[in-house]
């Protein structure tokens, strides 16, 4: 048999559940625009007290009804989708970094234009044509030396600019690593708080939101792969090595040769901006730098071969035009315009046929022009491919982001509709309480008064 006053307690639990429901609605609405916030919902459950056997068995049909309770406050998240979002963010960050760095590199070249290295090489070779026409003109000879200076200067500055991109990329890699270390430390602290909170039955939803944001950060930076434990704490591995495990972290570091290590063990990064930067620093940029050096070395060989095949104005075998190796080291060695070997025969004549040959050197398929053109082509193709991959990945990322927002985000209509539900529930419970109150009033104050005046 139920207690006469049990209804009051039940109505009280209804009021309480409705009020808590409104609290959660309020929390959702306030945090609708909070980055990383996951919508929360309450699970209500009816409370039924099982009849106590052996005391009253005659009226078991009227089981004791205990009202309503809030069983749990859930986060509207989908762990599988969360993991997919992290993976795609890691890949996306890697591709964004590759594409933007490659764009920076190809921007350094300044091609195609009528003023870039290609045009300067053309001007250099063409200047030999003027010497061929007038081997006695010191003006024409001076132009050869000046255009050679321009070409050498541009090669040096291109080499310097590529080295600058490498320096910037290396600094960004260092920053990725230190940010990842700081995120790992924060995550380890959170792991501890989440484990304790879960153990004592506290609501840890906002801690879980923070945890997920850190996991996302680690995936974007270093391609950290997360596994969520039963107690809500996350384990993160980078390149197969544990970076965060429970409350402990391993130190992430990068050495001078751009090798990333976790806790002293060298790892190969598989995602995140750091992976792209390591690849750029160890393969792409040194490759371009080597190709640019090849342009310079080819030019040195071409220019000096032309000089040694001819004779200068005084009739002597031409002295080397260029010296140095690599794009950073190339310099013009010849300073005297009359030293230009325009003649193909000795004796100090005004033959210009060696200069004429030089003027045609720009069309050589193995010359500096061709080597530079293939460098520009290679950079352009690599950059175009990276841009293409980036925009494809962008589409994937916005797709999973949209799915994630759809699953975990807040919808005002939904919240307002819940708000109305809880408001009505509150009113209804209040009415139940009022009704019980009236019934008790009738029982207490109006019973047994038959015949009273």
């Amino acid at each position: 048999m139920t207690n006469w006053f049990a209804g009051i307690g039940q109505a009280m639990s209804g009021l309480d559940a409705a009020r808590y429901g409104l609290d959660v609605v309020s929390q959702n609405i306030e945090n609708a625009d909070t980055a990383g916030y996951t919508r929360q919902t309450i699970q209500q459950a009816a409370v039924v007290t099982p009849p106590l056997s052996g005391i009253y068995t005659s009226r078991t049909a009227q089981a004791d009804l205990g009202g309503v309770t809030v069983a749990s406050t859930d986060r509207s998240d989908d762990p599988v989708l969360d993991a997919r979002v992290r993976t795609e963010h890691g890949v996306g960050a890697s591709m964004d970094t590759s594409a933007s760095t490659l764009n920076m590199l190809q921007g350094v070249l300044g091609e195609p234009s009528s003023t870039g290295l290609s045009a300067q090489l053309s001007a250099f070779w063409t200047s030999w044509g003027s010497v061929a026409n007038a081997p006695d003109s010191s003006g024409a000879r001076t132009v050869v030396l000046q255009t050679a200076q321009t070409v050498a200067g541009t090669l040096q500055s291109l080499s310097g600019s590529i080295a600058n991109v490498a320096t910037q990329t290396s600094a960004s890699l260092d920053s990725d690593v230190s940010q990842a270390n700081s995120a790992a430390t924060q995550l380890a602290t959170l792991n501890g708080q989440i484990a304790i909170g879960n153990a004592v039955g506290q609501n840890v939803n906002s801690l879980l939101d923070q945890r997920d944001q850190l996991l996302d950060t680690l995936s974007k930076l270093v391609g950290g792969v997360a596994t969520i434990g039963a107690n809500g704490a996350a384990t993160v591995t980078v390149g197969g090595q544990a970076l965060v495990s429970g409350g402990s972290t391993a130190a992430l570091s990068v050495d001078a040769s751009h090798q990333v290590s976790v806790g002293g063990t060298a790892v190969a990064l598989t995602g995140g901006s750091a992976a792209a930067r390591v690849d750029l620093l160890t393969n792409t940029i040194p490759g371009y730098q080597a190709q640019l050096d090849n342009v310079a070395n080819t030019l040195v060989a071409q220019g000096n071969a032309i000089q040694s095949a001819g004779y200068d104005l005084a009739g002597n075998t031409g002295a080397p035009l260029f010296s140095g190796t690599g794009a950073a080291g190339i310099t013009v060695a010849l300073t005297d315009p009359s030293g230009i070997a325009a003649s193909a025969t000795p004796g100090g004549n005004l033959d210009g046929s060696n200069a004429l040959r030089a003027s045609q050197a720009g069309s050589s398929t193995t010359g500096a022009d061709a080597v530079f053109a293939s460098l520009v082509g290679a950079m352009g193709s690599a950059s175009a491919l990276a841009n293409q991959q980036q925009s494809t990945q962008d589409a994937v990322v916005s797709n999973v982001d949209a799915l994630h927002a759809s699953t975990s985000g807040v919808n005002y209509d939904e919240e307002v509709s819940n708000m109305l539900t809880y408001q009505h529930a509150f009113s209804a419970s209040s009415r139940v309480l009022t009704t019980i109150d009236e019934m008790l009033d009738t029982l207490i104050n109006h019973t047994g008064v038959v015949g009273r005046a």
Partner: protein, 295 residues
């Protein structure tokens, strides 16, 4: 759930993504349109970039051919005038020799005067043989000296040839070869005229053989002039070819690097419309919620 939940975040994502995508298309088109360049960086068209670089260097070489051809024509015109004047001088000498033959040994004074005239012609011939263009003797080969012949009529030039490249793999000689034009060694025209002048004063009748020598000398110069004329023609043809090559190269380059303004204008209008539409929908869609209808 059958329909996708639309949340504050997902609305913001899709709206922002649409706005950013359309506005970046618009920015890219504007950069192309304002620079007039179809290719702003190599990745826009890697093969086109390489082709444009090669076309530009081909154009530079082609311009060099044009300069070379102009220079070649100037050398050849100078030679042409010199050849004509040389023939005329040699013909005057022939007339004088004929005159000497007719006069015979009777009039020593007249013969001496003719001999003096012939010596004068010899001097003008040496001057003609030293004709120079731009400071360089055109019959002196590649000599660094200022003259092809010294005052005695001895050749002081070298055996080299001045050439000009007027087209791809097309090199033409623009200098005359002194010994080939004026004869070499003891048989050159200067020695011949000296000997004619001295024979004139001693025994004019012995000069009958000199007429054929002079005829041979004249025909040598005429042959050289004919050869020069043919070269002149060749250079002019090369110039025509160069001009059309230049036009073709410019057209090819333009088709690769220049924007198609008409197409671009349409593209910009389309992109602009898409951008405005994205802005407008984002602005209007996010205005309403259930809250607006509750009292």
């Amino acid at each position: 759930m059958t329909t996708m939940r639309v949340t504050v975040g997902s609305l913001a994502y899709s709206g922002l993504a649409a706005i950013q995508s359309t506005s970046s298309t618009l920015a890219d088109l504007q950069a192309r349109l304002s620079s007039g360049n179809q290719i702003l960086q190599p990745s826009d068209n890697p093969s086109g970039t390489v082709r444009a670089m090669s076309l530009r260097s081909e154009m530079a070489r082609n311009d060099q051919y044009a300069t070379n051809a102009d220079d070649a024509l100037a050398w050849l015109s100078t030679a042409d005038t010199t050849y004509s004047q040389t023939v005329s001088v040699l013909q005057q000498a022939r007339t004088l020799v004929l005159q000497g033959l007719n006069t015979g040994t009777n009039d020593a004074t007249a013969n001496a005067a003719v001999a003096q005239q012939i010596n004068g012609l010899r001097s003008s011939l040496i001057a003609l043989a030293n004709t120079s263009y731009n400071g360089r003797p055109i019959f002196g080969g590649t000599t660094a000296g200022g003259a092809a012949y010294d005052s005695t009529g001895a050749y002081v030039g070298d055996t080299g040839a001045v050439t000009r490249m007027v087209g791809p793999n097309m090199t033409v000689p623009v200098s005359g070869n002194g010994p080939a034009v004026f004869g070499s060694g003891s048989s050159d025209v200067f020695a011949m005229l000296s000997s004619i002048a001295s024979t004139m004063t001693t025994n004019p009748a012995a000069l009958s053989g000199s007429l054929s020598d002079l005829d041979a000398a004249i025909s040598r110069v005429s042959d050289a002039q004919a050869g020069e004329g043919a070269t002149y023609q060749q250079v002019q043809n090369a110039q025509t070819a160069q001009t059309s090559a230049s036009t073709s190269l410019k057209t090819q380059l333009s088709s690769i690097v220049d924007v198609d303004t008409a197409q671009m204008a349409i593209d910009v209008t389309t992109a602009n419309t898409a951008y405005q539409a994205a802005l407008q929908t984002t602005a209007s869609v996010r205005q309403l919620s259930l809250l607006d209808f509750l009292k």
